[in-house]
Subunit: 407 residues, 2 copies
Amino acid sequence: MNIINGGVTAAKGYKASGVEAGIKYSNRKDMALVYSEKPATVAGTFTTNVVKASPVIWDKKLVESGNPVRAVVLNSGIANACTGSIGDEYNLWMADEMAKALSINVDEVCTASTGVIGMQLKKEPIAKGCVMLADTMADTYEAGTLAAEAIMTTDTVSKQCAASFEVDGVTVTVGGMSKGSGMIHPNMATMLCVITTDAVITKELLQTALSDVVKESFNMISVDRDTSTNDTALLLANGEAGNKVIDKKDENYEKFVECLKYVCVTLAKIMAADGEGATKLLEVKVINASCKEDASVLAKSVITSNLVKTAVYGSDANWGRILCALGYSGKEFDPYLVDIIIESVIGSLKLVENGISTDYSEEFATKILADSEVTVICDMKSGNEEATAWGCDLTYDYVKINGDYRS
Amino acid sequence: MNIINGGVTAAKGYKASGVEAGIKYSNRKDMALVYSEKPATVAGTFTTNVVKASPVIWDKKLVESGNPVRAVVLNSGIANACTGSIGDEYNLWMADEMAKALSINVDEVCTASTGVIGMQLKKEPIAKGCVMLADTMADTYEAGTLAAEAIMTTDTVSKQCAASFEVDGVTVTVGGMSKGSGMIHPNMATMLCVITTDAVITKELLQTALSDVVKESFNMISVDRDTSTNDTALLLANGEAGNKVIDKKDENYEKFVECLKYVCVTLAKIMAADGEGATKLLEVKVINASCKEDASVLAKSVITSNLVKTAVYGSDANWGRILCALGYSGKEFDPYLVDIIIESVIGSLKLVENGISTDYSEEFATKILADSEVTVICDMKSGNEEATAWGCDLTYDYVKINGDYRS
């Protein structure tokens, strides 16, 4: 696998754009387009929230139909969630405006929205935005970057990455962009993500690959345990690489999954580190658990604990809160087997051995935790399975951003 | 039912005390005693955390034995959690010191601890504290208050209340005290609670009453979703009222439950309002749900949402977050049936009708939410069951307190 600089335009046959349509805020890009020159097979994963935004309902239909798509139009001003049947009509209208501007069919256009809940879309800026998106789209790195910037809300950095691999001498590329900063929690965060690939791959394997990879990437990050109404990850495959079709779970499929996982985990980690108000990326690795499900649940329990998150913010090696969070995860284990280790570029330190405090240096522990990327390893010593979750610290700024988000 | 001023010494035949033993901090009361002159039947509910503190393990044994107890000794300096077999020995030693000071048996002494996790108890101050507790105990209101004060950690107010009722002309009293401020979450918060009653009641009904009432009081509060290692609620009944024994689920049992529920809900609400860093008590009522379980899960999902909690802190009527939190609770419902109303002493306002925003005044909504006690009503319109949960806003001070708790 070869890591490359880029995002949704890295793979062959894709264009993108990002513009200021003025949907809710001025002087901010708020609409983005990802366009495939050829019809693309599409896979998707969506929020598990009972309350689903209109674009989620629309995209699910398109993905389930099995028909190829050509474009994804995204807006980052208004979420179009909790907007009733009018919201559905407005979403369809947005897809249609984009389709007209691109001279394609409405059911070839996926949609995604993020922003304020409960407000209806505004037709005038969106109509104008769709035309601007079509007029300015390009297959360059810069165009992909503009798109990644245009989907940001409270994000402080734009998020994109790409990688490629070889299938019998043919280069296949996977690239993606995402947004997400608050309302971030496993089972699809308030995140929008569009990934493009030029791979030739069957619809079925494309969906399987995405569903499997999402479990170990986007579904393992948490900023605040709030699972949003709009979470969407779309994966388009237009076949422009011309590789031998990936139609079974062979070596080539594994290479594709590895590459897709790199893209998804990288985006997930950038999102976690950019969590609202975050000053640190927190990684929780549960190792030697008795089964994969336990490892995953235990890791998520620690990553979502407000008390762990505030302790990490304060660089306080409060391992009792980590063991406590493992304990209320709902999974059974023997506390007196557990080791807890903290790590950063500064070094590594075992805080707990067999459930009891080691005689560690609080000073060194604080130094390790003061770094901007901190890993907590929980060794359950009861099996061979592991899982990793990513999150961030809980800070004054999280409270500030969310105490006054709408104004 | 008659609400009375008092706590653990309100019922007949109980003494209490609270002293400065100097276990971890100086100039702070840190040990408390509740003593019954006659052997008392005891019921208990405990943390569901896999990681259980030594006193929890000890108390569970005593409660399960069915034998009466005479005393509860509590310390608020060191939690004695994650302390291994040495922690168990130290806990037994503490019970024994208390038993010797009171001239009773060690298995008549329940224990409770709260404070820092992972540290071993200190023998010298505790031995001294036990003697001081026995020497100073009294059956007065003031003695009960000293005990309530001595179990505080990050609590800003001491918590006690009492009520009485009549059984065939005989007055029966129930009174209690509790502590809890952080690590507060359903399934027993980091809370210690001791309730005393002079009722004559069977062991079986005493436990049933406590278990049922805890579900609708302590298990419906949440400050930060962290279920602690030490949660303990003990209910002692010494029979000193001399009422006709309550041995079946008749009218007298119902009166007892009503009185116990008043005490537990009152303590639960004071704990929620005193959540770490809280500026407001938040009450979430889910009404007209299809079943009790759904009502309870939906109410807890809203009360625990960091995004709802920060919005309440900012007095922002961000109802989208409320509907979103209902949506990810794991319970199915039709979002387009839901009404959301906010209430405080300022007034009442419907924000959402049938899942869609009403044309409400943001200014009036902000005024309602600016009060120190705010209620959110979620009308599911799909049945007749309801549940209420209590919590608080998420503030800068929560982060401050927990970013630097141990130092």
